[in-house]
Amino acid sequence: MSKTRLMIVDDEVDLLAELKPLMERSGYEVLSAINGEQALEIAAREKLDLIVLDMIMPKIDGRNVLRRLRESNNWTPVILLTKVNVPAERILSLQEGADDYLNKPFDPLELVARVQAVLRRTQRGSLPLSSFRYLVSGALTLDRQLRQVQRVGETLNLTSRAIGVLEFLMLNPHEIILREHLLDEVWGWSATLETRAVDIRIAEIRKVLEEDSGQPRYIETVIGSGYRFVADVVGKA
């Protein structure tokens, strides 16, 4: 069986030089590109399983590369490496078709874990949940654009961070999501806040959804690590 092929795109040569051996040791074949143009060329020519794409690059930046890939109907999973940690910015990246994103400076082993997770959950050619406006799970609908959650037509009263937590869990159904990961995604201040901030928002969601934590319909606690959205989720445009 041929190795899984990744392309890493970053304008920092030293970053490529360090990231390549790390990914190779993790069992991947690695191609690299030092700018957006080269990345688009390689993506058009080679069969890739995943692209790790830096957001800030001269000429064609990561977001533009992503947009052009999606416009040409190339749905190779993309993990964006961002330096801007504003939630709105990240939501926009996901809406534009990124499958995941990681903030610099990231834990290198976290990148390896994310690559594995994205590869597991995306079947090549199918649209990722992150490309849809609505996430639907049974009676529950999350509108990612309006930042609203509805249950059978009734809008639920949730804080913006609780909606952020629910959205991230729904984007990654059946996967264990670490508290630290949620803090990084939704708050963006992971090292400054305590993971208990996440528990408080989960409690808020459960209360509004009238969840029984002993027999959860939606969010399950994974003792010692984090949370998992246990119901199936489908995307709706």
Binding site: P105, D107, L193
Partner: protein, 312 residues
């Protein structure tokens, strides 16, 4: 502001009233009118009214001009201050951006080295120390980012219960056993419990954790730290009191500056951004922070936060 203009206002009002009074008295013929002085006939009532009006008008004019100048100056000062804050935020953003790539590369390089076989124990220990220092730098970058990103647009404003908030902040402060043994929390209960404040729970936890961590760090092991909470119907007041090393008077005005480390802080771990973050978050909540301190006696940090409207 009003105090500064009080003499002007009083003078103009006084002049006006004096003129009006003399004029009324003259018309009522309590004061002789007309008054003959030398060979001129003077209408005292008319003269007094005009003089009073002139004096009043002049003082009112002076008051209005100086009020205008003052207002203009204050507006310019506020604009300058706003520009300074914006420029500082831009600087932090750039610094944060510039530090991210090198830090990312160093971290990946470290993992590559740590995963390489045949490292001696000494090399491993050395790499572990470097990793720890990189973590420290990363904490600084994250605090810088938080400082540069914190604006009124990205904070939540919901009623927050102060007791629950402080219980949580205490539980998260310092080494857990130490914090729970040393910190006492005293929240006003009578005649009614302290009302909720309006704010961002997560950021407020950060504020009190930072202050409590400092109180624990800068006092001798085992010395108590006290948290006192009260309210006056509009504002909640939270005192964080320690009996630690205190802050020398000449350092007080600098402690909220970015990366400022006082003499007592050398050797005590910290990013140098904690109090700046605290000050910024409190300001975003329309609150204030004050500090009173005596060297070798201790410090009191007082935070005032507006109460949530529906509970006042």
């Amino acid at each position: 502001m009003m105090r500064r203009f009080a003499p002007g206002i009083l003078l103009s009002l006084g002049g006006f009233l004096l003129g009006f009074g003399v004029s009324v008295l003259a018309q009522q013929e309590i004061l002789p009118n007309p008054v003959f002085s030398a060979s001129y006939e003077v209408d005292l009532a008319g003269l007094a009214a005009r003089a009073g009006a002139l004096l009043g008008g002049l003082t009112l004019g002076v008051f209005l001009v100086s009020w205008g100048i003052q207002r203009n100056l204050e507006q310019k000062k506020a604009a300058l201050n706003k520009e300074q804050v914006a420029s500082q935020q831009r600087f932090f953003q750039r610094l944060d951006h510039e530090m991210k790539n090198p830090l990312t590369i160093i971290r990946i390089g470290l993992v590559n080295l740590q995963q390489s076989p045949a490292l001696s124990a000494e090399q491993n220990a050395s790499l572990a120390r470097v990793s720890q220092q990189v973590q420290r730098l990363q904490k600084l970058v994250i605090d810088l980012r938080l400082l540069s990103e914190l604006g009124s647009s990205n904070i939540e404003r919901k009623p927050v219960n102060l007791r629950a908030l402080l219980d949580e902040s205490i539980a998260l402060s310092g080494p857990a056993a130490d914090a729970s043994q040393r910190i006492t929390l005293n929240v006003q209960q009578m005649p009614w419990p302290v009302a909720d404040v309006l704010g961002d729970r997560d950021l407020l936890v950060l504020v009190f954790r930072n202050l409590l961590d400092n109180a624990l760090k800068f006092s001798v092991d085992g010395e108590p730290v006290e948290v006192r909470v009260s309210e006056d119907g509009h504002t909640a007041m939270i005192d964080i009191v320690d009996t630690g090393t205190g802050i020398p008077p000449e350092e007080i005005e600098h402690i909220f500056e970015e990366l400022y480390r006082g003499e007592n802080a050398s050797g005590v771990p910290g990013s140098g951004l904690g109090l700046k973050l605290v000050q910024r978050i409190v300001a975003l909540h329309n609150g204030t922070i004050q500090v009173r301190s005596k060297p070798e006696r201790g410090s009191v940090f007082t935070i005032r936060l507006p109460l949530a409207p529906e509970t006042t």
